[in-house]
């Protein structure tokens, strides 16, 4: 989406307005909100779920939820796209959790999660995202392992054990990559002023 800060502000103002009107059950505003946000949200869901039907279902559920609960957006005090993306991400992670429960009895052999072969890798996406938000320095400051682990977890929804299998590292190592990576990111991003 928009990488220019002025455009980001403009977009956010527009999305906020649309969410406010959606809270009043204005269908035209809701349709515009969908047009504006769904391509981003669909791409996010598709990355995590790696299954078009599941991503469509999640997008649908999320927007029906937004229609009914747009009013709670105001109370959340978040950026509109962050709020919307978080709804979609949480639903995706719920889906993954259900899949884990479903497959828990299956032979859990060394079957690494397939990483999407097409398009940018999670690491490239992390760098592109940092670039779009002008926080490249924060991502660059991470160690290589931390960067990999955080990118795979964030964009593909990988769990600690899936990270360990994919990165061929002991579980303890990837856990500490994630923990330390997050700590470092927090410090740097907060200094960059991304939280209010």
């Amino acid at each position: 989406m928009a990488s220019d800060p002025a455009k980001q502000l403009e977009r956010n103002a527009r999305l906020m307005q649309l969410l406010a009107r959606t809270a009043l059950k204005d269908q035209a505003a809701f349709a515009e909100l969908y047009r504006a946000a769904s391509p981003h949200l669909y791409a996010v869901a598709l990355r995590i779920l790696r299954d078009a039907a599941a991503a469509e279902e999640t997008l649908q559920e999320s927007f029906v939820n937004v229609w009914h609960h747009a009013g709670s957006y105001v109370a959340s005090r978040s950026q509109p796209l962050t709020w919307l993306t978080s709804i979609v991400r949480n639903r995706c992670l719920d889906q993954l959790r259900r899949r884990e429960v479903d497959t828990v009895t299956m032979d859990d052999e060394d079957e690494g999660v397939t990483i999407a072969a097409e398009g940018p890798t999670p690491l490239e996406l992390l760098l592109a995202g940092a670039d779009a938000r002008a926080v490249q320095g924060c991502v660059d400051a991470l160690e290589a392992g931390q960067k990999q682990a955080i990118a795979l977890a964030f964009f593909q929804g990988l769990s600690h054990s899936e990270l360990a299998r994919n990165l061929r590292q002991p579980l303890g190592t990837v856990k500490s990559w994630v923990r330390r990576g997050l700590e470092r990111l927090r410090g740097c991003l907060d200094r960059a002023g991304v939280t209010r």
């Binding site: 989406m1 349709a31 649908q60 009914h68 600690h160």
Partner: protein, 237 residues
Amino acid sequence: MNLSDPERADAIAGEYVLGTLRGLARTRFERLVRTERRLADAVRSWEERLVPLAEGIPPLDPPLRVWTAILARIQSAAATSRAPASPRIGVGWWRGLALASVAVAFALAVALFQTASERTQGTIVIVLAGQDAKPALLVSAERSSRYLSLKPLAPLAVANDRALELWLLPDKGNPRSLGLVSTAAPAGIARITLPATADQALQNIPALAVSLEPKGGSPTGLPTGPVLYSGPVQRLY
């Protein structure tokens, strides 16, 4: 999970937003976030830090059926709250349009045209069916003509303050309106003028749909009401 230590609680909030907090721990944490302001604030801060990084993902248009299904659901929810007997248009109805009944409807359409002793060589036929897969509207055109003929196969009753609108559902992009479907003369054949020949106007259009709109048609240029009927575009050439 020890959340009394603020540092530890914040670290867990970070793993929750990143997605690595899984299983039972995730469920328990989610429950606590709902009641504890301090945790909710920590989650929000982590969302502000991490979630905008997802903007590096190239956007991708979802298929049109997602929007159609969302509309159907919010419309039926609104209708249900007014009149409990209103049917709910479910998620899968569009995809699940029973193949068998479509085939029956199609055969019917072909039969209609053959008995009319018209040239079937260059005809385009669309049988629009409702949620119950019963054919409701027959739309047809000669490939070189600049209008569509509409023949209701069942009574199309709508309230006085409503209208039926006919839409092209393209491969990609938003539905495009073809105009309103006349409900005045149930037995007659109505015409809708096309911007080009039927052959060109329906190129890359896999299906047509009819939605329920306010009188005068959709105010937004996109369907705002539930999709009542839809059907695939069939070319008899």
